[in-house]
Symmetry: C2
Subunit: 634 residues, 2 copies
């Protein structure tokens, strides 16, 4: 049985073209070419440094050998963690998105080689997991709670869908569908209630269904969602494994953050295909809980080292923030799906925040080392690492950067939506508007002026252009061909421009990027009396390398003014912000942890404060860093 | 070879009588009878409720069956955790201290029965651990890092020493020495470098040496200290196992808090016997680091759930404070040893703080349920439990309460030192002062007036009375027979009164107990702009049961005055403190986690604040609790 809708093999990041419920349809990777000075150089590093070095890591850590071994090509023991196949799949996905619009013979050869190994490692029956071969083969599906078999399968499916969409080749897609059919024969028939202790396969199956037209995969995704929170539990019943409650009854984000957000993403995908209201109600409740109680100002989520879990509401410690890079990425994935579903700008705002901050801090400027945890305060001990025993984050960053052009625009009916801002060229086809080219020219995120030029293929056409006005962009302005538009520009919405467009029409959007300070809910005790600094989508921090005084002692006066300038030679080119601040120098605290109230006689010395983008910290010499800065008490 | 000193079988909690280095010699449990309204009723609950219920827990959880099984008396599998023997030993120790000065036929029969089981479970060779019997016997000493064999042995030795000192019986001491001799034959000879992943045996061996006069046990304790931080490491090399560095090179408290503090206590004991300066230097450095950077205002320590570890300096979260009850007890044990060594009041202050707060919060008012973690803020989810799979805390509380009278007084030369204040009667013998009876009469900690009456056996004698003036006791006064003394009373020291005492002489010490507020170091970000409230040795908190407004919204004005009164019917009788405070009611935070700085328009409504002692929280209906209260910003 196949889906009713036209199947596509274009490199959409999430393909909502077959869903009547999705408000938006994305542009795919061959439609959008980034040309900006912020993301495109990072994507180049991703392609030239990160992906080759991750390939080498997969070689030296035995991740590829595990496939060779499973294929019978080499002898020896299984190497590393039992879920290591998933890192290879994520690397394949990242390469696939990279190859969608760019030639890279080395990567192409490597990915074909790796796909060959993957295919060779697949069993006669379709089963594929290099850990569960030979001596462990009899343990297949015996511990769904802990052993990540379906999780690894999910990453395989995502890689296969990406590879097919990007290259048109079916080499990996055939492997994926064979395995998916086998999984469906085990878990899809009603005889065995299964689900995975680590959600991931749900969204992968929805996309596999979209790519192949096979509705059984969608049904299987649904079934894996439905099998959570049963009595007796299928995978242990804990929040850690997202098995504590039936999904449709959930309204509180709990448990392991990455597992939770992957599940929420999969449930959103499933709703987008099925329209089941109970799924949407749960998704909406969970999103609200996350945004109102449990998200960091970085867009990062997951407060606790213990269980890599969300904490209680307002439990957002800065120095011990866990905020796994993968959780920021999962947050982006979920936000993207909700944006496609609804067309509401709040999701794009959340996506942009997590993208520029919580995700981007996860990789070094040189593209070769990574944060697993992304704290918001540190004493200089926390440094990026070249790899991890559990290496989920590095290839997760790589696949996101590779796929980034796919997040800029969407269309709906006769409307073109611009979500992210970066110099770029996009080829769009609108049902009535026809083909057109849209060029963005900006120095975002350093400068808030973004120019669009519209080139209809026929020289003239009618459509609506929707520009995202971020919630922080108070005072944003829009003009067309130099004339200001009369409709008010409201932050936290899309600005609609419907007109007859002619070749050469220019739209100028100006998003005010002045430094701004935010406070957090009083119950976030570690932020009481403190502010975080942002400029446009970027969170700022203070790092020791720019200061004499301990940055943990730096205090802002109650009023402050910023001097901002772009420093091309600093941290790959960043806007820094300076202000006159104070360094707390109360010697009475020497050797004291507690003192009688009222005995403090805080003394301060003036000091220059230099704030840098949070994502760029820990690329210089180690030292303290802080995001939330105290305001001097009166 | 035996020690030079007179051996004693009196129930000293830590017997420093054989150490020339110890400044102080404690009174033992038969010398001091508590008669107060605070501790003695708790000790009665301990004897009548807690210890019998813990015995039942040891029965129903198979802890006693494990001994029967090892003795060949019953069949079946080993039950529970491999370290469960230690809970039985701690219960035996608690009963022993209880029986030292009191008759309790039921407890006496139970403890004799349990000791019989322990003895019967001992191997021919002296080995004793019920997990490592039968099917696991061949794994003895094969995993010193994880399997707690020496830890369990340490608890056995402490129980045996207590039992011998309390009852004069050698039934358990003989078991202990046989096992200690066996351990010495394995690890004491130089052939095998061993130590335990969970320190504990070190202090036990020093006391066993003191009790038996056997110097080999002291040497073995030293050896277990010396074998930490070797290259290659003996027990894995981690901070968690206190194997990260040679002890004498340590100056930072790191790793698992209970393991660390047990080790520091053992090293302090060892120094007290040997006088090795390098040990003392490390001990002093570690104490300073703990007090200056890593101790909660409760006296609790160990900030992190992850690894039950100390955090970084100033990492003292309130809601996620781990602060295991055992860590507070270990803090008390270490402070007591340093007090005996030095006679410095700072150690007694630390001991008292941890005793009244961090330890005492660990047990419910009814004596039948326990906290493992003791947070300083909560939303109402954290409740005491009747028992735990890992049940170290409950019998640890029981043995401390049972031994409490032993902490009140010490002597040195011709001086009597009073460390803790509670109505009591003590029989003292001073080298030159001879025998005398000292009676304390007070309603401490509710009232700060403490009266001492001195009754020399001969009607008249000369000695010095040293009264601890806690560091918080600004304005304390002392008079003798109604006449104020001229020497200034300095908080944070002992006040010396040397005179010819006559029968009926009365000393009146007044410690001002007004509510006081303290602040914490600015780097403890979660306490910025907040105060903690104390009254005498007691930390106070606000609990939801006394308030309409959410106690997390309660804010203190910058100036506040207290109305304090004793409520006999509340929580077993407590002084509560009331003040006019404010409830934060800024509706702008509804559904918001972050807001622009300057947009807050904090609104407050007056509210009555009622503070209760921290130790008493969570004995009523569940609800939020908070220790560190915000001060209203100007």
């Amino acid at each position: 049985m196949t889906l009713q809708h036209t199947r596509t093999h274009e490199p959409f990041i999430v393909d909502t073209t077959s869903s009547k419920l999705a408000s938006l349809r994305p542009l795919h990777l061959r439609q959008v070419r980034l040309q900006d000075a912020f993301w495109e150089p990072r994507r180049q590093v991703n392609r030239e440094i990160t992906l080759p070095s991750q390939y080498q890591q997969c070689v030296t850590t035995g991740r590829l050998d595990n496939f060779k071994r499973a294929a019978g090509q080499i002898q020896g023991p299984f190497q590393g963690m039992f879920y290591n196949d998933s890192d290879v799949y994520k690397w394949v996905e990242a390469v696939a998105w990279t190859l969608a619009a760019e030639k890279d013979e080395r990567l192409e050869a490597e990915v074909d080689e790796v796909i060959g190994l993957i295919a060779a490692a697949q069993g006669e029956d379709g089963y594929l997991n290099t850990y569960f071969t030979f001596e462990n083969a009899d343990q297949r599906w015996s511990n769904l709670r802990d052993m990540h078999e379906l999780y690894c399968a999910g990453h395989l499916f995502q890689a296969a869908v990406a590879h097919h969409r990007a290259t048109g080749k079916t080499t990996l897609l055939d492997v994926a569908t064979r395995f998916a059919d086998y999984i469906d024969s085990v878990f899809g028939t009603g005889e065995r209630a299964g689900t995975c202790g680590h959600p991931e396969i749900e969204m992968a199956l929805v996309e596999l269904s979209r790519e192949t037209g096979e509705e059984r995969y969608l049904a299987l995704a649904q079934r894996f969602i439905d099998n959570r929170g049963l009595e007796p539990p299928v995978v242990g019943g804990s929040t850690y494994h997202q098995d504590h409650a039936p999904f449709r009854q959930q309204n509180e984000v709990v448990g392991h953050a990455v597992r939770a957000l992957y599940l929420y993403s999969g449930a959103t995908d499933a709703y987008t295909q099925t329209g089941e209201q109970a799924l949407l109600d749960a998704v909406n409740s969970l999103w609200s809980d996350l945004q109102e109680h449990k998200v960091y100002i970085t867009g990062g989520v997951g407060s606790r080292y213990e269980g890599e879990a969300f904490g209680e509401p307002y439990e957002l410690p800065n120095d011990r923030a866990y905020t796994e890079t993968c959780a920021s990425i999962a947050h982006i994935m979920w936000a993207w799906r909700l944006l496609l579903l609804t067309g509401e700008s709040t999701y794009a705002d959340a996506l942009e925040l997590a993208l520029y901050n919580g995700m981007l801090s996860g990789i070094s400027q040189d593209g070769e080392s990574y944060f697993y945890q992304n704290p918001l305060a540190d004493r200089g001990k926390h440094r990026r690492q070249p790899w991890f025993g559990t290496a989920c984050c590095p290839p997760n960053i790589a696949r996101l950067l590779a796929s980034l052009p796919g997040y800029l625009y969407t269309t709906s009916e006769n409307t073109l939506w611009a979500h992210l801002y970066a110099s770029s060229e996009a080829n769009v086809h609108l049902p009535q508007g026809g083909a057109l080219t849209v060029r963005q020219s900006s120095n975002y995120p350093w400068d808030g002026k973004i120019e669009f030029s519209i080139e209809p293929e026929t020289g003239q056409t009618t459509f609506e252009l929707n520009l995202r006005i971020p919630a922080w962009a108070e005072g944003a302005t829009v003009n067309v061909n130099g004339e200001a538009l009369t409709a008010p520009v409201r932050p936290g919405s899309y600005y609609h421009i419907e007109r007859d467009w002619r070749a050469g029409d220019r739209v100028e959007l100006v998003l005010p990027l002045a430094m701004r300070a935010v406070t957090s809910h009083p119950h976030v005790s570690n932020n009481n009396g403190r502010v975080a600094l942002l400029r446009g989508p970027l969170l700022y921090c203070v790092e020791q390398a720019d200061h004499q005084a301990d940055v943990w002692d730096i205090t802002l006066p109650r009023q402050f003014e910023w001097s901002e300038h772009f420093d091309a030679n600093l941290l790959g080119g960043v806007v820094t912000a300076q202000t006159q601040a104070l360094a707390h120098t109360d010697q009475g605290w020497q050797g004291q942890l507690y003192r009688p109230y009222g005995q403090e006689q805080p003394t301060y010395t003036p000091t220059q404060l230099t704030a840098i983008p949070y994502y760029a910290w820990a690329n210089r010499e180690p030292g303290p860093m802080q995001v939330w800065l105290p305001i001097k008490p009166e």
